[in-house]
Amino acid sequence: MSRLRRIDAVQTEFAEAAERHLDDVHAFLVYLTGDRAMAEDLTAETFARALERWRRFDPRRGSARAWLCQLARSTALDHFRAEDRRRRREGRFAATEQREDAGPVFGEGLSPELEQALARLSAAEREVVALRVVLELDGEVAARVLGISATACSTRLSRALQKLEKEVSAGVAA
């Protein structure tokens, strides 16, 4: 009986966290992958993992949002590694594989220049933009999610924004 109650409590707590942070995690994964469909799958996978590990989450060590973003990043990296291995196995075919995605990726209503500029950034640059600009996490928390120092995070963000502005300007000029 107590076991069932415990399961119910975990589910309720998790459901609340999922409801509150689903958009954040999804947005982060969209920026990280640059692919909406992949981001949806990875978001679902992230929350499945989060539900399994919910007991390990300790609010004293950080917010649920940061913890979920960390988990999302790790899920995405696992996926990228698996894809990388698959591409290597499949050789040339995978190397020439093209993405078939016509619609906007990074959000409805973005200017085409900004959309294209974001697409030209690397995943490493987009993830720092997502965490610091879109999700508005502070430098320390973002650095912890990325597994780097706060200084490295700041440097990476600076370069990413400069590159983004340059790409946007180039796009407007064209």
Binding site: R3, R6, I7, V10, Q11, F14, A15, A18, L22, D23, H26, A27, V30, Y31, L32, T33, G34, R36, A39, E40, T43, A44, F47, A48, L51, E52, W54, L77, F80, R81, D84, V105, F106, G107, E108, G109, L110, S111, L114, S122, A123, A124, E127, V129, R132, V133, V134, E136, G147, S154, T155, L157, S158, L161, Q162, L164, E165, V168, S169
Partner: protein, 334 residues
């Protein structure tokens, strides 16, 4: 300056990015809402710090109790009840019985000589007396007084002092050994006087009846004298030499039976031995020694396993760093 401020057109870009952030689709919301928690599996969870502390306290108390109950380490401890046990037995007493044969009988302990075990000489018998006494005196002054009194007593009874060894150490402890010779007739008075000098720690008295041996030697002497009277001038010198040897031997025997030999040992109390530890102290010591042993084992294990752990930790750190670099490259490529 914040990195965000480095970009001139930042505000517009940031507003645009935030205003157009991707939103999860209803289908994704349904997928996430449909997630069910897995059946809880048994997993090993590290005990909390409080539990570890409580266990350590219980282990400590347990070791105290076990050490106290089993008396660990106490088996090698001497069960001696004190200095008195050092003199609990005396060497066997040698005492002549009737025919003169020497027999041995155990002494009953450090008691003063009494009439019951009197060593008074037997009239008409030739007996050799030999006694040893060990006495304890209060201090160095007492040692000096007792030595002097023993000498005076011996001389007063017609005897003499064969030898004296007297030594003190630091003015607090000391000892003396006296070899006394007194006429056999006064041996009982001599022993009575000596036992008053201090506390008896050990005593031994030996009596060897030499009457038969003396009689045999006397007969041999008489026979040789008769032979000498009948002997030719050629045989006489040899018999005379044999007779001289036998007479000297007989004289020594008679002389030894006339004066008793008493060896007296006087000593101040030995350095005060430390009081035997109480049961509680022993328990504490034992528990402490168990803990020290455990620490030794732990230290040994650390010394042996430490380098391997360090190597392992370095390996893990290197693998993590390598993986982080690989992830960074992967994200740069993606």
């Amino acid at each position: 300056m914040s990195p965000l401020e480095l970009v001139g057109d930042f505000d517009r870009i940031a507003q645009e990015l935030r205003g157009s952030r991707p939103i999860a689709s209803p289908a994704l919301r349904e997928r996430v809402a449909a997630l069910k928690p897995p059946e809880p599996r048994w997993t090993f969870r590290m005990p909390s710090r409080r539990l570890v502390l409580a266990l350590a306290v219980v282990a400590l108390l347990g070791s105290f109790v076990v050490a106290g109950v089993t008396g660990l380490g106490g088996s090698t401890r001497s069960k001696s009840s004190g200095p008195a046990s050092a003199v609990q037995s005396t060497p066997p007493t040698r005492k002549a019985i009737g025919s003169g044969a020497a027999t041995k009988a155990p002494s009953l302990g450090p008691v003063a000589l009494s009439e019951a075990n009197s060593v008074a000489p037997t009239a008409g018998r030739l007996q050799r007396y030999d006694a040893t006494l060990r006495l304890r005196v209060q201090n160095v002054d007492g040692l000096s007084r007792a030595t002097q009194r023993a000498i005076n007593l011996t001389r007063g009874l017609g005897g003499y002092v064969g030898s004296i060894e007297y030594a003190t150490s630091g003015g607090k402890r000391g000892g003396a050994t006296l070899v006394l010779r007194v006429p056999v007739a006064n041996i009982q008075a001599e022993l009575d006087g000596l036992t008053d000098l201090g506390t008896i720690l050990q005593q031994r008295t030996g009596i060897l009846d030499v009457t038969r041996r003396a009689d045999r030697e006397s007969k041999q002497i008489a026979e040789l004298e008769r032979e000498l009277a009948k002997a030719s001038p050629q045989e006489a010198p040899a018999i005379r030499a044999q007779l001289a040897t036998l007479r000297a031997k007989h004289a020594r025997l008679v002389r030894s039976a006339r004066l008793a030999r008493i060896v007296v040992g006087l000593a101040t109390p030995p350095k005060q031995a430390a009081a035997p530890p109480s049961r509680f102290d022993r328990t504490l010591d034992d528990a402490g020694s168990v803990l020290v042993r455990e620490l030794e084992i732990l230290l040994y294990a650390l010394v042996v396993v430490g380098p391997l752990l360090l190597l392992g930790a370095a390996g893990v750190a290197a693998a993590k760093a390598q993986r982080r670099r690989a992830d960074a490259r992967l994200l740069e490529r993606t």
